[in-house]
């Protein structure tokens, strides 16, 4: 019979040769191509617009994110990012339990508006138990209460040239040498008008806590956590994202994260 036998010496040679492929690893050989200014990184990042287009094609505009039963709220909502803003204007509001808070709605709208927290609480509310997915990889299920953003947009009457909703926030994020910048985020009008997109003032049957974005944060249930701006100061309708921050549409986007975070 034709067989191919390996003796011990040959086995060790082969094993050694095979083992030599193991260090074929990341190391830092590729690091130079992967910095934020690298054209290679830009080419790789272009796959994100394909992902965005394919997901928009596969996901119905009104398809709902999964909702869960009350028994699946098993822990407090995990806070992340800013958890205790120290900006002076925010501290002044917090001191008075946000009694002086007003949400402003402006930009490309027919009728710029502003709402107090009580006015928002008195509007028809939506309650949803959903899963919060952080870009880091973890998930946390919580119950959210708030006003559908679509209703606010309808009251302000969005101009036809508007394409994005920009959220301006009270919290500053430290950028090291370049100082601190205020958090901001943006979404397209499909997600803005989605039935589960709410401006939440309640979490797990109590008033939204400071760590989770008090007095008001947005829930965008079909995207990752960093899209869901906390400590919202105002909403602006815009036709382009260029004027804000570094023009990528959000605090984390300016640092290299993808604008569409449905993946």
């Amino acid at each position: 019979m034709s067989t191919f036998r390996i003796n011990r010496r040959k086995f060790l040679t082969v094993a050694g040769a095979a083992a030599s492929t193991i260090p074929l690893s990341g190391c830092d050989a590729f690091d130079g191509f992967l910095t934020s200014q690298s054209p290679v990184r830009d080419v790789l990042a272009s796959a994100n617009s394909l992902t965005y287009r394919v997901q928009r094609m596969l996901i119905d505009a009104d398809a709902l994110a999964p909702e869960f039963s009350a028994s699946e709220v098993r822990q407090g909502q995990r806070p992340n990012g800013s958890t205790d803003p120290t900006d002076a204007d925010y501290l002044a509001l917090k001191e008075k339990q946000f009694a002086d808070y007003r949400l402003t709605v402006g930009g490309l709208v027919e009728k710029p508006l502003s709402f107090s927290l009580d006015e928002l609480r008195n509007m028809p509310a939506r309650m949803q138990i959903t899963r919060h997915d952080c870009v880091e990889g973890w998930s946390c299920i919580a119950k959210w209460t708030g006003v559908p953003l679509a209703r606010i947009l309808d009251e302000a009457r969005v101009k036809p040239e508007a394409r994005f909703v920009v959220f301006h926030c009270y919290d500053s994020m430290d950028l090291g040498l370049s100082g601190a910048v205020r958090y901001y985020e943006s979404i397209d009008l499909i997600d803005a008008r989605h039935p589960q997109t709410i401006l939440a003032y309640g979490c797990n049957d109590e008033a939204l806590r400071v760590a989770n974005g008090a007095p008001l944060r947005v829930r965008i249930e079909r995207q990752l956590g960093y899209k869901m701006a906390k400590y919202i100061k105002g909403i602006e309708l815009a036709s382009t994202l260029a004027p804000y921050g570094s023009g990528k549409g959000g605090f984390w986007e300016d640092l290299g994260y993808e604008w569409y975070a449905g993946i």
Partner: protein, 287 residues
């Protein structure tokens, strides 16, 4: 050609030379190399992504106030103030300083799941890890779709990948031959090869693609049934990780077998398609 022939005749320990056969079609070869490149980058960027939260869970969410963790890689401080890297699997902790949980130079260690040499970029950069991962994921999935359709049409799947009844009957013998490092080279896949390739191509590849999709909050709205199939987003993430580990194990055995079976002949066949079979075995088949 003559050099290859010469080395080969020595490698295979046969006086006579076997027939050169066309073993791998173009679809197999192109998808093979697409996967090879894509999986390399997917692995290293995937470990980068894992490092952003180096813990795995079973269920719909991550337990911060309850325990559903199955694996974690963390740096922890002991009572005497010494910091070490620990890997915890099903509640059992092992000290893994230098590799998992804590690695890098002793005077300036990094507290991270997988070490710098195993991630892309080498330093902590989740956003770039994601950019790399989602770029190559498209190529990986596209190659899988092309391979699957082409193999279904050409009969490659039925003929070469799925084990026949006779193959299954020969399983014990094939197993004992392999354990004694006796390998047959007749150009066809033996039952263990078929099972390995079927396992990777028809089980692990679809599983790793689908669990990847299950982690997308956008796709959860479009295909919520995926969450039910895999038992929740965090379980899907864990399955995705286990598939990765199985693919790494497959890769190591794959490379070992290629080297053992004659790397030049094997490389020629996966690049050009042409493979030199063992002479005697060939006769058996033509007889």
């Amino acid at each position: 050609m003559t050099i290859i022939d010469d080395i080969e005749s020595r490698l295979t320990h046969h006086g006579g030379k076997g027939k050169v056969i066309y073993r791998h079609r173009i679809a197999t070869r192109v998808t093979h190399w697409t996967w090879a490149v894509a999986l390399f980058f997917l692995l290293l960027s995937g470990l980068q992504i894992f490092n952003a939260h180096p813990e795995l869970y079973i269920g719909k969410q991550s337990g911060f106030e309850f325990d559903n963790s199955v694996l974690s890689m963390r740096a922890m401080q002991t009572a005497d103030g010494k910091v070490d890297g620990y890997t915890t699997i099903f509640g059992q902790s092992y000290k893994t300083t230098g590799v998992f949980g804590m690695s890098g130079p002793a005077d300036n260690p990094s507290y991270r799941g997988f070490p710098a040499w195993a991630t892309l970029p080498s330093y902590q950069d989740l956003s770039t890890g994601r950019v790399i991962h989602f770029f190559f994921a498209w190529f990986f999935a596209a190659a899988f779709l092309i391979w699957f359709v082409a193999s279904l049409i050409s009969g490659h799947l039925r003929r070469d990948i799925l084990p026949s009844r006779a193959d299954i009957r020969g399983l014990p013998k094939s197993l004992s031959d392999h354990l004694r490092f006796r390998f047959h080279h007749d150009g066809r896949y033996n039952v263990l090869q078929k099972l390995a390739y079927a396992g990777v191509l028809l089980v692990i590849f679809p599983l790793i693609i689908l669990t990847g999709i299950t982690m997308s909050p956008g796709m959860n709205a479009a295909w919520p049934w995926l969450l039910d199939v895999f038992g929740g987003r965090q379980t899907a993430r864990t399955i995705h990780f286990v598939c990765m580990a199985l693919l790494v194990a497959f890769f190591l055995i794959h490379i070992f077998m290629v080297v053992a079976a004659g790397p030049l002949n094997e490389m020629r066949s996966i690049i050009t398609g042409w493979y030199r079979a063992d002479p005697e075995k060939e006769e058996e088949h033509t007889a």
